[in-house]
């Protein structure tokens, strides 16, 4: 007996893990993984709701989110490569370009 509630709990737990990874880690690569985890948790929630209502709308939304995540992956990863080439570090504390304080 699995209802939409069980899926919601699991999805929100995964979302929390992703958000915690974004907040607590300093490695920019792991921050990217955390963002992806959050997007995927929302996808799970949308798809559970789509199954609950027996309608495809949330499924389409989930597909569009996957597309956005793919675009984000390309830009974020090339950003990481560029930053690593220039600064030789993955530490976000050393990447304060906009703060006006050259690290």
């Amino acid at each position: 007996m699995i209802g939409v509630q069980a899926y919601a709990l699991v999805a929100m737990l995964l979302f929390s893990l992703g958000a915690l990874a974004v907040v607590t880690r300093k490695n920019i690569f792991v921050i990217y993984l955390g963002i992806e985890l959050m997007l995927n948790a929302l996808n799970l929630l949308l798809i559970a709701l789509s199954r609950y209502h027996m309608g495809m709308e949330s499924g389409v939304m989930a597909l569009l989110i996957i597309g956005v995540a793919a675009a984000e992956a390309a830009v974020f990863l090339s950003l990481i490569v560029t930053l690593y080439r220039q600064r030789k570090t993955l530490d976000v504390d050393n990447l304060r370009i906009t703060a006006g304080e050259e690290a």
Binding site: M1, I2, G3, V4, Q5, A6, A8, L9, V10, L13, L14, F15, L17, G18, A19, L20, A21, V23, T24, R25, K26, N27, F29, V30, E36, L37, N43, L44, L45, I47, A48, S50, R51, Y52, M54, M56, E57, G59, V60, A62, L63, I66, G67, V68, A70, A71, A73, A74, V75, L77, S78, L79, I80, V81, T82, Q86, L90, D91, V92, N94
Partner: protein, 167 residues
Amino acid sequence: MAEALFVILSLLMLLGGAGVLFFRQPLHAGMSFIVSIIALAGLFALLSHTFLFMVQIILYAGAVITLMLFVIMVLNVQESVLPDESLQPKTLFIGVLCLAPIVIAVVKTLGTLPFKELYIVPGDFGGIELLGAKLFTTWVLPFELISVLLLVALVAAVILAKQKERG
């Protein structure tokens, strides 16, 4: 059967997520992300969304993960450049404290929905036909916008990668 699968898959998924949070090496975190993604694809199949299950496997386990592993390989990250990340229990605690209300709110709100068992639907619910019919009629504008977004991302990735070192 479906209950057992749900429990196993969600445990795997959450363990993978916890691995992303706690592994220090980016490669280990990436591998544990793969575990999480594949278990998530299994949950999609359990919700009878067969097409999204395939998309998840092909696009994440195939494309995005390969891209990530290539980036890790190209960067050749040494132990010395990894940031100093002693586990910060205080930040973790505050994060949990901030996130708990959101989780409780969402779960409680969905808890007010009448209970319906989510068994695997026989027939073509979740297949490409129904999804495509919705995607190319009601949702055609967002779909086209996504294609523009992907083009922009492609151009941006090329420009960022070709940038000469400054200074």
